[in-house]
Amino acid sequence: MDFAQAIIEATSDVFNTMVMLEAAPGAPATEKTTAFSDAISGILGFSGDIKGMLRINCPNQVAMAITGSLLGMEVEEIDDDVRDAIGEIANMVAGGLKIYFARHNQNIELSIPTAIGGQAYTVHSLANAEWVAVPFTLANGVMLVELQFVGLK
């Protein structure tokens, strides 16, 4: 199974239908990014045939642009709408991954999204998990969609 392709399909589907902003996928990242500044990360765990965690990391200005487009309003600060919107994006991308995995006979169940935000924070996953990340370039910054997982049979 091609996990980068799964990320690209699921993310592009959400951006093409709901967000209506151009988000161009780049080549999968080769080095882990763990430190984020002035950013929001929407995270969502999943389990089943594949256990893992999805993380969508957005610089604040990208998160505000996504929220503005999603809600159809001007967004000028990081508020509850932005945090909820990034959580909802994680939820929808995870829903797309679930469908992609099911096509490859791997069934997963989703947890609920959490939005992490701050001026400077790091996010770290278990060292022995596999990791795939795809950057998406938007008009005002780069969003990184990461998938960390174990247990693919």
């Binding site: 589907d13 959400v14 093409n16 239908t17 709901m18 999603l70 809600l71 159809g72 309003m73 509850d80 709408d81 909820d84 919107a85 909802e88 939820n91 929808m92 829903g95 797309g96 679930k98 989703l110």
Partner: protein
């Protein structure tokens, strides 16, 4: 004459997203009412009539399935069409919703066109 829609979702952000989609779908609603769960929706419907309802499934207090059940038992509001909005509801839950009177479902992510197609035929 302008129509009224009721959006039931525990996320206020999601209610805003649905509102934006209705607007972009070109659906001309005069009034958009919102409720945070099934119970709030039933209380609102006791006072105010609406033309169509869009409802989430997983919600605290009263979820979308229980809302459908109680609504179908209430002759005054039984006839209002309900469309479910879901992220990953299985076929079993959607079948249950249908058996309780739901007229359709929209799966997230959705385009304004999908919203307009699903709702268009019901109004």
């Amino acid at each position: 004459m302008g129509k009224k829609v009721l959006i039931i979702d525990d996320s206020s952000t999601m209610r805003k997203i649905v509102t934006r989609s209705l607007r972009q779908a070109g659906l001309d609603f005069d009034t958009i009412l919102e409720a945070g769960d099934g119970q709030e929706a039933l209380q609102l419907l006791a006072k105010e009539g609406v033309d169509i309802i869009l409802s989430d499934i997983n919600m605290p207090n009263m979820d979308g399935i229980e809302f459908l059940r109680q609504k179908s038992a209430n002759a005054a509001i039984k006839g209002i069409p309900v469309v479910m909005i879901t992220t990953e509801a299985g076929a079993d839950i959607l079948a249950e919703a249908k058996s309780l009177g739901a007229k359709g479902s929209i799966k997230k992510p959705f385009t304004p066109e999908q919203v307009s197609e699903t709702l268009g035929g019901l109004m």
